[in-house]
Symmetry: C2
Subunit: 398 residues, 2 copies
């Protein structure tokens, strides 16, 4: 039985999602039983609108370059299919004689993959649906970690070291800095910035994640104590931290719509915290918000992440060719030191709409910090050490 494969990219982009795409294409090209490889533009939008590109006809030079290009080369989307649209999508796939649909994405994409796979089975349509994990948030269950996370973590860990060096030198001018990082409901990325602080004096000094209720009074006390101890303070905060009543610290942006999956848009956490520091402590505070640059940096890509992203793409094709459907590819850590990982498969219903938050054992029991277990977990994902920086030797007064 020969069939056609369609691949799409979905959700927020990453630095390595195209490595996954090229992994799919490379594996499909040499896989018996696949005679055409198509890509859908802008996720399921391209499926519905029959907006496709022939990936089997891309040159090796193009694919090599795309594999080193951040963002989604096919275009991405946040689009929740209605039940009618699920049926329409399956009709569109049938018209194109697509027997394998590979969807690269996060929680919401796993949900889409699950619904399409179930409906296809109900209809008796010959379609294998395989999801491939992708999210800088690292919040998918059943996988050791998610492609995209390691590279964003590397950018942020290095960027926080850099921002911390700035604050250390400028402590007499603006001694407090808040670095705002992404994370819908999970603090994996914020936590990863701890990897840049091998010594207690190094930045960041404080890390606030959405897994723990944010208390402004405690935060101000933490900043004050750090400032008194070191003369400056760098705090990392996930953009979505909330207080004990569940209210976003940055305020919900009421002028903006909730997104297609019902997630509210949050206005400005770091900005709010800087104002609070200045008002309550009388310390000048500023914030860095690298925004989408944190998920797009090929200059700071984790080579481990980049390679694993490729392998999960290849594994998806192997799984589909072997008859699997309704599954998501996972990464399974075989060994922590030396770090070794392989791919696995999990039923997609165990992933769809489930978020994996930071477990308690990855956080410090009392301080706004991480545990050694988290550091051991996250360090290899950065793909190598950060840049090595120096300090002048203390000579005493000459």
């Amino acid at each position: 039985m020969v069939t056609r494969l369609l691949v799409a990219q979905s959700g927020g982009c990453t630095a390595v999602i195209n490595s996954t795409l090229v992994g799919v294409v490379d594996a499909a090209r040499t896989q018996d039983g696949i005679d055409a490889i198509y890509g859908a533009h802008f996720g399921v939008r391209g499926v519905l609108g029959d907006d496709l590109v022939d990936l089997g006809r891309q040159s090796q030079a193009t694919l090599a370059l795309v594999r080193r290009t951040p963002s989604a080369a096919l275009g991405s989307a946040r689009y929740k299919l209605s039940d009618d649209e699920c049926a329409q999508a399956l009709d569109a796939l049938a018209r194109r004689h697509i027997g394998i649909f590979v969807l690269i994405g996060g929680n919401d994409s796993a949900d889409t993959a699950q619904r399409l796979g179930r409906l296809a089975a109900e209809r008796g349509q010959d379609l294998r649906v395989v999801a491939v994990p992708k999210t800088i948030d690292n919040d998918l269950p059943e996988t050791d970690h998610c492609p995209g996370f390691g590279s964003a973590a590397r950018f942020l860990a290095q960027g926080t070291v850099d921002a911390g060096r700035d604050s250390a030198a400028m402590r007499h001018w603006d001694p407090v800095k808040v670095v705002e990082v992404m994370g819908r409901n999970a603090g994996w990325l914020a936590a990863a910035t701890a990897l840049g602080a091998p010594e207690e004096r190094d930045a960041p000094h404080l890390i606030y994640v959405p897994e723990r209720p944010f208390d402004l009074h405690t935060f101000l006390g933490d900043v004050h104590h750090t400032y008194q101890r070191l003369g400056y303070c760098v705090a990392v905060v996930t953009e979505t931290v909330r207080d004990a009543q569940g209210r976003p610290v940055g305020g919900i942006d009421k002028t903006a719509p909730v997104d297609a999956f019902g997630h509210p848009v949050i206005a400005g956490t770091a900005a709010a915290l800087c104002r609070a520091v200045e008002a309550a402590l009388g310390l000048k505070a500023r914030f860095d918000k690298p925004g989408t640059m944190q998920r797009m940096s090929m200059a700071l890509v984790s080579e481990t992440d980049w390679q694993e992203a490729y392998e999960v793409g290849r594994a998806a094709v192997r799984a589909a060719a072997a008859g699997q459907s309704g599954v998501m590819v996972t990464l399974e850590r075989i060994s922590g030191s030396p770090y070794r990982c392989t791919t696995g498969l999990v039923p997609v219903e165990r992933v769809a709409n489930v978020q994996r938050l930071l477990p308690a054992e990855y956080l410090h029991p009392t301080r706004p910090w991480v545990s050694d277990a988290f550091l051991a977990y996250a360090r290899p994902l950065l793909g190598g050490p950060l840049l090595k920086y120096g300090r002048l030797e203390e000579t005493g007064s000459p």
Copy 2:
């Protein structure tokens, strides 16, 4: 005559200000007539407080590492000496038998160097004062460009390419992006992001600099027009753009929601512009504000900038040893293609408190964009091409 040299770092930090510091130390170590090399902690604060470090006793390994470390290894300051403090500083230098004072900084530091040099001459104190340029803002007159600019420009040009790839893929979700960049009163850094856009479809599409009054209505029209043409839009804006009446754009955000602590969130220029885009055009907009990361990135350093920063440090020592005082080291472009630069000297009073804004010939006459002359000026300062990214080949519907 044998004397001692003191060096200090001042103003906002850069990725290469320590390369200049090590240039000073390396040159002073081999310079006849200098028998001690001290550094002052936190700029003129360290001079006043006799808070010094012995740079002559630093190991080569330490200096090599510091040279590759961003921020100011001595610590920096923004501190304007009173007249009394100028006299106190000279007294402190005399007590330490300092005959050469090298101050690495920007406009304000040149002013400090000028005042100390003049007062020393009036008092008959044997002190040579040499200023060394350093500012990511690139706003010092009399020099072709300023060390620190090329590296920040490289980070921002690459970061804007990256952020633009994100927006291109996510155009159906949040099609408008504003990248907020630094610049006290000059738009050199914002302008440099144009180097990442070799084709008209590439980001950034619009660049707003403080040299031109910012008109919100025109901005919204520009964004709307770009969105209609390309399906998304990336605008770069200097944080300090002002309207025709001189009011900061970041201060006119009246529709911001209230945060959890009851304060309206005013995150600055880019946040205000995003809100305006959403309200007026109904397009979802987001912003990236890399903040201090843009001036601290050794991962994206311009090797040209890094080497030139070293050379201006060495040139300062040579100038002082040759008896020069009241001068600032400059960079003089000998040739544009191939790019070649050498160092020069200029009286510091021609630099102190003078800002070099983007000249009209470096801006596009009608569009929010730069001129070809600016691109030719700025390109070699980035120290090499940006990362090469790819796109899928257009195959037509398969």
